[in-house]
């Protein structure tokens, strides 16, 4: 290309053209969500019996992280209209006009395909298939189908976020065992009270964007009741690794204690007319999941050690 042609090209630049920075692409990948996904995926990988080369383990975690980020980018592309309305999401790169919608979609699709291929070629195709399933589930089932249609969006859609430990487990073992399904079930049962606690104090945001979250459709009272029900159901599910013999009693005792605190928090939410308890439960729920999976790795039952 000649110098003249280059000059013509740059002069044609429109002052309103997007000027995305590297950080904007990072933001598209929802780094906070990614951290939880990476942690639970790593926990599944470390808790699994068997051995995987350390570099391939790192690649598996990288693929899980990139796959989750890709799904997040596609979600932001699809939800850019409601993200612009909601206060919590209005500062994302797409509502701010820093990244073009087509660019965000391409970014997400390329990363999604790349992460699945990398997992398949470097680790195994069971883990790659599960990673692909989790991305497709998050995009098509949760984002496109459920999110704007039903207050059960979080309940069914939560399955997408429950995949990482199963993928981590499959990366090591090449299979999906009952143990990894229990880890899936823990996150599946944890997701509704976690997101409903957030929705309780962000209710106005969701209503403005016409997203049928439970507090918007059924009211705060019913949402609080559902948070309590799910936190009670979560407690025995969280105990299952010890009861099934693939975690020790340190994990089991902690699961009982953490479960009791979670239930106490849910009771407090039911009794509290302000948003304070809901905020506390939301914060605690994040700690709960991190603590539970960390302890699962630390207190892996001796017979399971690979």
């Amino acid at each position: 290309m000649s110098d003249t042609a280059y000059r013509v090209d740059t002069t044609a630049a429109h002052p309103d053209m997007p000027t995305a920075e590297v950080g904007d692409y990072m933001a598209l990948m929802k780094p906070r969500v990614m951290s939880l996904v990476v942690f639970t995926g790593l926990a599944g990988l470390l808790a699994a019996p068997g051995e995987l080369h350390w570099l391939l383990s790192a690649v598996a975690v990288l693929a899980i992280a990139v796959g989750a980020g890709a799904a997040g980018a596609i979600n932001m592309w699809y939800d850019r209209d409601i993200d612009a309305v909601m206060e919590r999401t209005s500062q994302r790169p797409l509502p701010l006009g820093r990244v073009e919608p087509d660019e965000a979609l391409t970014f997400g699709v390329v990363l999604a395909c790349g992460s699945v291929l990398l997992m398949g070629l470097a680790v195994n195709f069971v883990a790659a298939g599960l990673l692909a399933a989790s991305i497709l589930f998050y995009v098509f089932v949760y984002t496109i189908w459920l999110k704007r249609r039903t207050p059960q969006n979080i309940v069914i859609g939560g399955a997408a976020g429950a995949f990482p430990p199963v993928i981590g487990w499959a990366a090591v073992t090449g299979t999906v065992g009952i143990e990894s399904l229990v880890l899936f079930l823990i996150i599946f049962m944890w997701t509704p009270p976690h997101f409903w606690a957030l929705a309780l104090y962000r209710c106005g945001d969701y209503a403005a964007a016409n997203v049928p979250m439970l507090p918007v459709v059924s009211g705060k009272r019913e949402t609080k009741r559902q948070i309590l029900i799910y936190s009670v159901l979560l407690a025995p599910v969280a105990m299952a690794p010890t009861l099934l013999g693939f975690a020790g009693w340190i994990y089991g005792s902690a699961a009982v204690l953490l479960g009791a605190i979670f239930i106490a928090g849910a009771v407090a939410v039911c009794r509290d007319d302000t948003d304070r308890s809901a905020k506390r439960v939301f914060g605690f729920s994040i700690f709960y999941l991190f603590a539970l999976f960390a302890l699962l790795v630390v207190d892996r039952a001796p017979g399971v050690a690979g």
Partner: protein
Amino acid sequence: MMAKEDGKTEKTYRSEMHRKQRTKNIAVMLLLVGFCVLVYFIAIIRMGGGD
């Protein structure tokens, strides 16, 4: 005077745009190089029967 200020703004805008573009290009280059190195080591491990 106005035209001069506009010219300055335009120049500042372009230099900012080019800076951001350069940063993006470097990030993409680093990612591609990193990816190639990663694939190389994965291939070595897989060919060596490491799993």
